[in-house]
């Protein structure tokens, strides 16, 4: 059991060890859907939702099942994440068609999002309990949302400026991400 306070877990996951900018998790959506602020925000919210559910089920698996068969961890986590995403998709479709349409393709894509899988693994490695895991998930989700929205707003304003031809596309996004990551390093002294 880790002895960090909930507060430090929350802030560490959100800004200091931001999933995208400091740990490079969830880069695919970061590159893919960060062109518009609105979609970036929706993607971030969907992420928080699935992260919290993943954290709960990872905790359940760790406490009740994987105790005796630790070598099945990777396999069982990936199955849980994949089926969780499927279930969430079906439930959301049934309960709120509006939200389902708003999330669109991003919901199923979450299976191969390393942030989700990474959360389960990190939570296990650090030995977080139930509430610590929940706090970690919410913090990480907010951090992802923050990074996505920041990136999207920068890209929206860069769109009409005159960048050199060679920098158009992913190269530019990566340089911006590097700069953002440097800015986030400033939070390192916070904890």
């Amino acid at each position: 059991m880790s002895d960090q306070t909930l507060f430090s877990i929350f802030f560490s996951a959100m800004v200091v060890n931001n999933f995208t900018l400091a740990m490079f998790l969830g880069l695919c959506p970061f590159m893919g859907v960060s062109a518009r602020v609105e979609t970036a925000l929706r993607m971030g919210l969907a992420n928080i939702f699935v992260l919290v559910l993943t954290s709960l089920s990872a905790w359940f698996l760790n406490t009740y099942i994987l105790e005796s068969v630790p070598y099945l961890r990777i396999i069982s986590f990936i199955i849980v994440v994949a089926s969780l995403v499927q279930i969430v998709e079906m439930v959301v479709k049934k309960l709120s068609p509006t939200l389902f349409r708003a999330l669109g393709i991003f919901l199923p894509l979450m299976t191969t999002n390393c942030a989700i899988f990474g959360l389960a693994i990190f939570q296990t490695n650090r030995g977080y309990g139930f509430f610590q895991g929940l706090t970690f998930a919410v913090g990480a989700g907010l951090g992802l949302t923050l990074a996505l929205v920041l990136m999207a707003s920068i890209r929206e304003s860069v769109e009409f400026s005159d960048v050199p031809d060679i920098a158009k596309g992913t190269g530019l996004v990566l340089i911006i991400a590097g700069t953002l990551s440097m800015a986030f390093m400033g939070f390192a002294g916070l904890l």
């Binding site: 695919c28 590159m31 396999i75 994949a82 899988f117 060679i166 990566l174 590097g178 700069t179 390093m185």
Partner: protein, 211 residues
Amino acid sequence: MRKTTASQDFIRGIWEENPVLIQMLGLCPALAVTNSVANALAMSAATFFVICCSSVLVSSCKRFIPKEVRISAYILVIATFVTLADMLLQAYAPVQHKELGAFIALIVVNCMILGRQEAFSAKNNVYRSLLDAIGTGIGFTIALVMMGGFREILGTGSFLEFSLFGPNFEPWVIMVLPAGGFLTLGFILLAMGFFEQRKKAKQAQTAEASS
């Protein structure tokens, strides 16, 4: 689809369709573990093992995998080999295993591996799939070692822990920090864009001259 020869399958993954530098797949490990060449090598070796084994298994079992559940089946195959790689690395390279930590487990969600299974191994025979996997694995290794080299040389002034510049070199600490990963890959892409553009300009010039 264009028919390709065996050697094309092999070469393609190394440069022309390099998974990291051209297709932008598998970025998470490429950025996260390349702060030293040794880590980059360990990561590439693990990924290489996983992609080769799963390509062989998927292409040899492709007749028994129903179309509806093929993605889940591929993920299960990959997860099994990742577990194996995790255990092997823990047994034979405990230092690297500790450094890489959770990123070994994260090979499961490396889209490059799943992408090769879906795009190639599911449609081709074992021999071709193995060649394709080896090519892609080598391409991944080249990209990772290149980034690890840049970052380690600039960030600590050494290569594979041999000091290069002597004690007067002031290391660029930023390069081994997370921001350095983004910047390194960004600048590599910019350089590739530059050469691409120059090649195109040259081709246009020769076309003009000949007409």
